[in-house]
Amino acid sequence: MKNRWLVLENKIFVRWLSFVSILTMILLLIFFITLTVSSWPAIKANGIGFLWGKTWDPVANHFGMLPFLAGTIITSFLSLLISIPFSIAAALFLGEYFPKGAITDIFRNAIEILAAIPTVVYGFWGLYTIAPLVGKFELKMHMPAPGVGILTASIVLSIMLIPYSVSLMRQVISMTPTTLKEAAYALGSTRSEVITRIILPSNISGISAGFLLSLGRALGETMAVTILIGNSPELPRNIFSPAYTMASVIANEFTEAIGDVYLSSLIEIGLMLFIITTIINLLGRLVIKKISYSL
């Protein structure tokens, strides 16, 4: 009797699991289809030129997304680049040097709290602290000095990315087989050699996954970037220039977008962001695979 119940319970559990996972897939598909359908009027009106058009003119109903695409890619990769040394250092500190202890707990919690701060708070903090610093630097370099722009947005964004990569990387680093490390020490390696020759290479796929996760976060970040990037739809000339991202233009203009093609064009940007995020994710996975095989 009890046995039969257990069998039934197991069956229900498996059914439920498969149902939920299939549902997630279907949701993603529905999401894609809805976006495509709603952006259809814009796809028809704007044509393929939407992808490399440089003007965004809601008054004349002329839409191109290149400046937004450029802004999104540049801020995402720049912020990732800035965050890499900090994330790796923090992950090594927590995963290798001090995996246990009260101070580690405090430190780890502090990093995780970074992820819990609302992004609008990051945005305004950046506007009132980072932007004036960048502005002072620009003034010294004899450039126009508004303070807001790609660099400011990327610096603040990189701080927001750290908890995402650190939490994943810390775990994989702490799980490095002790035998490997001890073997290296036995051969006379120093600690830094163990880290650079053993820990980092053997965890390269986990570390890259951490970066990929934070890159996805950077591509979609809206509020903080909108406040800091200067919202200027032109192709950036340097990293101090104001720019615009895809997520920002949607957030900025969606509420007041009057007119079918205009609204639909904003949805088309959403669709493109969806596709680009998917492509970058797939490419990232490919790269990770390649790297892990070659090592």
Binding site: T55, W56, D57, P58, V59, A60, H62, F124, L127, Y128, A131, P132, G135, P144, A145, P146, G147, V148, T226, I227, G230, N231, S232, P233, E234, P242, Y244, S248, A251, N252, E253, F254, T255, E256, A257, I258, L263
Partner: protein
């Protein structure tokens, strides 16, 4: 049952709690109403107390949200009408009234001919208050600048790029104007504020009209910065020496930001204020109230101001709406343009001038239910 919130209220004289208590109280009243209606409908009478008829739904402009929320809360006290206003933006408000999912929409721009022709039935719109936009800046000593339409257009078209430009110096001989680049800031989020600003620029500059045009979002000339919301624009202005940007008058007053006097079309330099903005609307208003009042020719009017509108159907019998509900709606709207106007100034909105109120009255009286005017003797 009603005692508890009232005693609680006495201990907390704090607005937040008052609003909270008000809603709990009205929720209790609403619950009681539901119960009583349940009873009366059993006995077969009393359509009149149908709680559905006392709940109105509106959506639209975020710009007037603080004012409407105050007005609806005050009116609710007078007539126990619950008005749920969703500040989803003018575009959303227009879409919702087009789809007939709200009783009224609210927009910072009047409907275009194209939009009116696309509506499923005849729409009417009327202004409820006046909003003004000011030019704020960050200069050493924060002098009160005097600007002409030429200067404003020059700055925003990027033909004037330095603070010590001759045109600015000629109007402000006493001000210390640095040899600095002007950093131009605009609102990046689609907004009624941008609409008023670009509408004004389109009127005073043919270059602007042909190169950029007017709208809630436009294709700004290269090299200008966008800030999100009034707070975003104000933030960049405060942080950046030599920055200039436009913000709502209300926001500028509340945050002590400096703003420029603007030369109006009558040739007078006008300090932006609720009074001078109100005057902007005191010109001739067409019967359908679809008029842009920027660059008004009224003698002492501040020229960068605009109405914000409420939109509703002229024939109110659609869907399953009852006559009681429609009467409640129109009485409330009537109140908004009359007694309700007293709440505008404390919240730094400019109230409607007499000519605009007269135009509103005519429009509200023209609204019908099943062909019959609803408000005969309001």
């Amino acid at each position: 049952m009603g005692e508890l919130p009232i005693t609680f209220f006495k201990f907390n004289i704090n607005t937040q709690n008052r609003i909270y208590m008000k809603t709990t109280k009205s929720k209790i009243i609403a619950a009681l109403l539901v119960i009583s209606v349940g009873f009366t409908s059993c006995t077969g009478g009393g359509d009149k107390n149908n709680p559905e008829d006392r709940q109105l739904l509106g959506a639209g402009s975020t710009f007037v949200y603080p004012l409407y929320s105050k007005m609806f809360s005050e009116y609710g006290k007078l007539d126990s009408i619950q008005t749920n206003y969703q500040s989803i933006g003018s575009g959303g408000g227009i879409k919702q009234i087009m789809n007939k999912t709200v009783d009224f929409g609210a927009s910072d721009a009047y409907l275009s001919d194209d939009q009116l022709s696309k509506a499923p039935a005849t729409l009417v719109e009327f202004p409820t208050c006046v909003g003004a936009v000011v030019l704020s800046y960050n200069l050493p000593g924060n002098p009160t600048l005097k600007v002409t339409p030429d200067i404003i257009a020059g700055i925003y078209l990027r033909t004037i790029t330095k603070w010590n430009d001759d045109k600015i110096r000629a109007e402000n001989p006493d001000a210390q104007l640095p040899d600095e680049d002007i950093t131009v800031v605009h609102r990046s989020d689609g907004s009624g504020t941008s609409f008023i600003w670009t509408d004004y620029l389109s009127k005073i500059s043919s270059d602007w009209q042909s190169k950029v045009g007017k709208g809630t979002s436009v294709n700004w000339p290269d090299g200008e910065l966008g800030g999100k919301g009034n707070e975003g624009v104000a933030g960049v202005i405060k942080q950046t020496p030599g920055a200039v940007g436009y913000i709502e008058l209300a926001y500028a007053i509340e945050n002590n930001m400096p703003f420029a006097q603007v030369k109006n079309s009558a040739g007078n330099y006008i300090t932006p204020s609720l009074e001078s903005a109100s005057l902007c609307a005191n010109g001739d208003i067409p019967a359908d109230t679809r008029i842009s009042i920027t660059n008004s020719n009224v003698d002492q009017a501040y020229p960068i101001a605009s109405f914000t509108w409420i939109i509703l159907y002229k024939e109110q019998k659609y869907g399953d709406r009852s006559k009681d509900k429609v009467t409640n709606l129109l009485k409330e709207l009537w109140w908004m343009v009359h007694d309700g106007q007293q709440y505008a100034k404390p919240l730094t909105y400019a109230p409607l001038p007499p000519k605009a109120v007269a135009a509103d009255e005519a429009i509200l009286k023209s609204v019908t239910f099943d062909g019959q005017p609803v408000l005969q003797n309001p």
